[in-house]
Symmetry: D2
Subunit: 369 residues, 4 copies
C-alpha cells in the first residue's frame, strides 16, 4: 500500500474521504520563503465549480473553504510541511449500505472492495470520489505559486466534450484569459455553447459524456526531467492518471505521430532571438524525457461519468448473482469541466518537483532581510 | 537527478551506455527461491532483433549475450540484488565529435547536452539510445519469470506501422503464439507483410515510420494497484514512457471513450463461472487505478525514428546559428518491432512490483526443502 | 528538503509546529481492517505528561486531545491514509521576536535559521520543539495497535537520570506494568525517587539533566529487517535520532562489546522448547541487520535539556558579535521522562514498517464478514 | 525487501556476494562534470588491507582491482549511473555445505537463512560478509572526490582495540596524515603497537577483539540535514549500521552527555574570525539534525569478530538439536582496521547525498568549455 504521496523533492500527500470530516493535502519540500496564503488556494478551489451553470455539474455546489493548518508563518512558507484542508459539509450518506453489494459499473466500487477487504469507506465513493481532486488542487495552488516565481505558466482547457471539439487555433493568451469564462472551461465560446447543450441533453436522457482536456505549460526551461524512469513525460503521465476518469494521455503530436513519416514528425531546430527553438512542436516540448524549452503540450482523454440514471447490469457481490442497478443521487453528467483545474494542479505539482530536482529552484526562495 | 530506478518492492535500476563497456540491470527485491538462469534472459533478449528480416532494422544485429553477475545461487534467486549485464561489441564511435554541435532533430542530443552541461556520453546516443532497452528487457525477463509462477501472461504485438493497421480480431492464443513470428512482430501475417513493405519503402526514401503497440496482460488478479498516485495505470504509463519514442498511451477504450456516452462506455458486471467479470472491457482491466481481474489492455503510440537520411534543419550549438544535418550511420527505419519486447518488459516489471506490493507475491517463493 | 516522512510500507509523515494551530501525523500504508479509535491514541498521548509530579516537567501540562481526521471508518482502518491531529492550546509566543537573534546554546535555533533562511517558525522552537513528538506518539499508537495483533510488545523505560542508574535486574513483566508508574518512568521505584530528587535539585540550580532510556521489544519473529541499508538496527537508529536530544544509541551489549573477546560476546545458539534461541542476548536480538527472534534491546543517550536558567554565552546573529542569554519561560529540567513514550513510538513505527515489509503483516488484517 | 540502496539524491546501490563473481556499486545522482577515474577508487580500496602486517587480518590479502563499468566519459562523470566493480578471486567455497546447518554464533547465518528461506548464498557469508564493504568503499571514493571539491574532509581512525584506547589528544592534521600508517589504523603509533600485540595475542588464543572507530568530518557548512526524519545524525547512523559488527554509535559527547548537567553539555556560541562557532563541540557538529559548521564527530562501537577458532555451542537447524562448532578457515582476529575505510565511506556517501539535498552541491559541477 502507501501510494498516497507523489514527488521526490516537492512531495505531495493526499488524504481524506469524500464524505469524511475533510479532504487534505500535505506538501513536504516546498522551499522556504515563498509568499503564500489561503487566498492563493481559494482562487484555484473556486475553479472546480462552474458557477456560471451549476446544472452542468452535480448539485454539490456549496463553496469549499481552504484552510492552511501548518507550514506557513508570517505569510511565507517556512520550510516545514505545509498542510491544507477543506472540511466536507454536504455529506448525506444515509443510503450507502443499501448499494454496498451492488458495484456501479465502471466505478471503483468493486475493485476497492476487493483491495481493502470491504473496509474502505464507501460513502460518496470515499477515496475514489472526484472530490479527492480538492486535495490535488490545493497542492497545485502551492505549486503554481512557486512556479509563478519563475514565470512558468500552467493552463488547461476543455478541448472536446463528446463529439464536439474546438478546431479553432487558440492563442496562448486566449487560453490563459478565457479558459474559466465558460462553464465547460472551453475558451472557444461558440464551441462552449454547443458543449453545454450536449451535456444538458445527455443529462436529460440519463446519460453522461466524456471529453478531452489539453494542458499547455509555458516557460519551462530546457533541461527539466530525470532520465531514465523519472522522465518528465513519464512523471506527468503518472500524475495525470490520478485525475478521475482519465484513460489516455499524449504529448505533442501524440497518437497522430504514429502515422507520420520522420520528416513530418521531426521538429527542426532553429535559432530565434539567439535562443534554440524548434520550428514546429510535435514533440510537445519534451525530448528524451527532458524539457526542450518549447511549450509543453499534454492531452488527456476523459471517459463519460460512470454514474448514469439509466438502469445498468451489475452483480450482487454477496450473493454472487447478476443484478440491476439504477444509480440515484447527485451526479455530474460530465466531469470534464471539473477535471480542468485538476489537470492543471497535477501538472503543476509534477513540474514544481522536477524544477527543484533539476536545480532550477533552490531550497530557499530568498533569505530573509 | 537519480531517476534510473523504478519500483518500490521490485526495484529495477538501469545502467550503462550505448557505446560504453556494457548495458546492465539490477533488480533489488525479487523474492528468493525463484528458478532463474541466463537462459531465461537470453530468450527475451533474442526477441529484440528480428532475424527474419535484418534489413528492417539497423545493421547492428550481432547477438547480445546476457550474463548474470550476482543474486542467483544454485539456480535460484537468493534474495540478494540480481545484476545482469550485456557487453557492447559494435561500438564504432569515431565520428561523434564531428556532430557534437549539431543536435539531431527530435533526438535527445540537445536536451541531454543542456541537462548534463556537455558531459553526457554522446556516443551512439549514450543513455538515450534505444539500446538501453536491453537493460529493461533483462529486468523484464526476470519479472516475467516471476509472474509466470502466478500464471500472469504479458504479451505485446505491433498493431500498426504508419498507416497500416491490423483490423483483424486477434485471439489471445494467436497473439501469444505468433507475435514474434513476423519480423515486424504483428501476428496478423497478411498485415505484417504490408508493414514490412512500407518500412523498406520508407528506408529507400530516406524516411522512417512509427506505429502503435498493444500489450495485453492476462490473469492479473483483481486488487492490484495502489491509489492514489501509485495507481496501476499511472505506474504502467510512467514505465512505458521509458520506451524510446513513445508519445502516447491509452488503456482499454482510451481516447475513443472521450466520444462515447456513459451507457456505451460502462462495462456491465456479470457473474461468469462463479466469478465477477465484465461483459465488455473498455476499462482495459483497471478501475480506480486497481486491477479488476479482466485482461489489462494498453496501447502506446511510437513516433517515427528521428534519424533519417534526408537532410534536415538544425542549429550549431557552439556558434548559435542555423545549420543543416544529414544523419549518417546505421539507423532503424522503424523502431516499432524492437519496441515490442521492451513494452512487454516495462509492463512486466511494473506488474511484478505491484503484485508484491499488493501482497499477491510473497517474499520467498517457497522455502528450500 | 522533504524529510518529514519515514518508512516504506507504513509511511508516517509528521507535520505541525509547536505554537502553530496543530501537530499532526499521517500514516499511509496501514493495513485495512485494524480496529482503531481515538481511545487508542489518547492512552499513549497521556503518557507524555507525568501527572504524578508535574513539577518535573515544564508548566505545559494541559491535556492534549487526539482527533482522527481521516482513514478510519466504522471503527476500523479503511486502507486510506490515517490523519491524526492535536490542537495546540498553550501558545503564548509574544516574546520570540526579542530573542530571534540570540540562538540558545545546544538548541536548533542557529542551525534552523541558517537552513531555512530565517523563514522557519521560531515560536516555541517550531518544528524543533519536543512537542513534535506528539505526532510521533500518535503514529506510534497506531503502530502499537497493529503490532499488538501479532503479540509484539514495545516497552521503554528510564534507565538513568544524570548519574543515577537503576542497576536492578528488571523483569519484562515489571517493566511492562510499572514503567509509567513513577513520574520519571523508571520501574525501579526506589531508584525513581532518587532520580526525581536530582531533577528537582537541578531545576533549583537553574540546571538540567540528561539520561538513558532502554527499549525492549518482545515477540518480534526472526527474519525482520532488510539488508543491506534498510537493516533493522539501521532503521531503528534513524527513527530514534528524531527523538529530541538523543546523542547515542546502542543495541544489546553495545559499546561494552568493543572491550570483550569473541567468546564472551558471541551468543551461543541453543534449542529451547523446540525453538532456536540464544543463551545470552548481547546481540540485542539483531544479527546481520535481521531480527533473531530474541528480545530486541535498544539503549539511547539523551543529553540534558539545553534550556537552562543560568546565563550562557551566545552570539547576536544580526550583529555578529558575542552576547549573553538567559533562557526564560517554561522548560523541562529533564526531558527523559517525556522521551520514554516517544522512544516507544519511534520503535513501534519502525517495527510496523518492517513487519509489513518482511511479509509478516498482510495488507488486510482480515476480510470483512 | 529491496534494502540495498541508500540516499535520495546521491543514491548508492550495493550488489554482489563474497564468493560470487564480483562485488559492485552503482551510484545514481552523482553530478555531471566531476573528474573521476579508477585511480581514485583504487586508492581507497587499497586501504582495506593493512599490508604493513597482513597477519592482523585473514589470509585474504590479494589486491582488489576496481573497474569503472559505466557513468564516466572522457575522465568526467557523465550524469549517468556510475557502476564500479571488483572481481572476486579467492573464492574457495568447497566446504560451505558441511556447515550449512550449523549457524555460527553472532553471525548472520541463522537470520539470513530464515529470511531467505534457505536460498541465500552462504559461501563466505554471501551478502553478509565483510567483503561487501568493498562496494561501500568504492561508492565512498566517489563521494569523497565529490566532497573534496567543497573542501569537505572525512577521516576515520581506530580509537580503541579491546581495552587499549588512545588517550592522546590527536590533532586533525595528525589524524589526516597518519591514520593509515599503522596496520591497525591508529595514528597514535605507541598505542598502535600495543593494539597489534593484543590482536596477535587474541589470535593465538583462538579469540577475537573489537574496538571503536572515530570519524571526524571537517568543513561541512552549517545547514546540512533534513529534519525531521532525514536528519544528518539519523542518516549517518543508518548508513553506519551497514558496516559489519557495528553495535553502537554516538555523536560528540554521546553517552557521556547523559551524565552531564546542562551548563556542562551546552556548547557556547562565539564569534571567531567573523564566523559563528562554538567554544566546545560536545554536540559533535549537529544540532536539531542539522550541521552547525563545527567538525562532525562520530564514534562507533565494533564487536569482536564472531568467527573464532575456539569451540562454541550452536544448533543443528535441520535436526533442531544442540550442536558444537569450530569455525575453520581464514578469519580476521579483529575487523576494526578494515572497518576504518568502510566507516569513512559510509559517512562520505551520506554527506554527499545531504550536501546535494541541501542545495550546496549543484547538479553539474561546472559546464563543459
Amino acid at each position: 500500500m502507501a501510494g498516497n504521496s507523489i514527488g521526490k523533492e516537492f512531495v505531495f500527500t493526499s488524504f481524506g474521504e469524500s464524505h469524511g470530516k475533510l479532504v487534505g493535502a500535505i506538501v513536504d519540500g516546498c522551499p522556504a520563503g515563498l509568499p503564500f496564503s489561503e487566498v492563493d488556494v481559494q482562487a484555484d478551489l473556486d475553479r472546480r465549480i462552474p458557477l456560471q451553470k451549476p446544472e452542468l455539474v452535480s448539485g454539490r455546489v456549496e463553496k469549499d473553504f481552504a484552510q492552511i493548518q501548518a507550514g506557513v508563518f508570517d505569510g511565507f512558507t517556512s520550510g516545514a510541511p505545509i498542510c491544507m484542508t477543506v472540511e466536507n459539509k454536504e455529506t448525506n450518506s444515509s443510503d450507502y449500505e443499501a448499494i454496498r453489494d451492488l458495484p456501479r459499473p465502471a466505478h471503483a466500487d468493486y475493485t476497492s472492495r476487493v483491495k481493502y477487504g470491504g473496509f474502505n469507506d464507501p460513502r460518496g465513493g470515499g477515496r475514489f470520489s472526484g472530490r479527492i481532486t480538492v486535495a490535488t488542487i490545493m497542492a497545485g495552488a502551492l505549486a503554481k505559486k512557486l512556479l509563478s516565481q519563475f514565470d512558468v505558466d500552467v493552463m488547461a482547457y476543455t478541448r472536446s466534450i463528446g463529439k464536439i471539439r474546438t478546431e479553432k487555433q487558440l492563442g496562448f493568451d486566449q487560453i490563459r484569459n478565457s479558459r474559466y469564462e465558460s462553464a465547460v472551461r472551453c475558451p472557444d465560446i461558440a464551441c462552449a455553447e454547443k458543449m453545454e447543450d450536449d451535456i444538458l441533453e445527455a443529462r436529460k436522457k440519463g446519460e453522461s459524456l466524456g471529453g478531452t482536456v489539453e494542458c499547455i505549460v509555458l516557460n519551462v526551461p530546457a533541461g527539466i526531467g530525470e532520465p531514465l524512469f523519472d522522465s518528465l513525460d513519464g512523471d506527468l503521465a503518472k500524475a495525470l492518471f490520478t485525475v478521475p476518469a482519465v484513460k489516455g494521455i499524449e504529448f505533442g503530436g501524440g497518437f497522430s505521430l504514429a502515422e507520420m513519416q520522420g520528416s513530418e514528425a521531426n521538429d527542426a531546430f532553429q535559432i530565434q532571438k539567439g535562443k534554440v527553438t524548434t520550428a514546429t512542436n510535435l514533440s510537445g516540448g519534451i525530448l528524451g524525457g527532458i524539457s526542450s524549452g518549447m511549450p509543453i503540450i499534454i492531452r488527456v482523454a476523459i471517459k463519460p461519468t460512470p454514474s448514469i440514471a439509466k438502469e445498468q447490469h451489475t452483480v450482487n457481490l454477496s450473493k454472487l448473482e447478476n443484478a440491476k442497478i439504477k444509480v440515484s443521487g447527485r451526479h455530474d453528467p460530465c466531469v470534464v469541466p471539473k477535471a480542468v483545474p485538476a489537470v492543471e494542479a497535477a501538472v503543476a505539482v509534477t513540474l514544481a518537483d522536477h524544477m527543484i530536482r533539476a536545480g532550477f529552484i533552490s531550497k530557499i526562495i530568498k533569505r530573509k532581510e
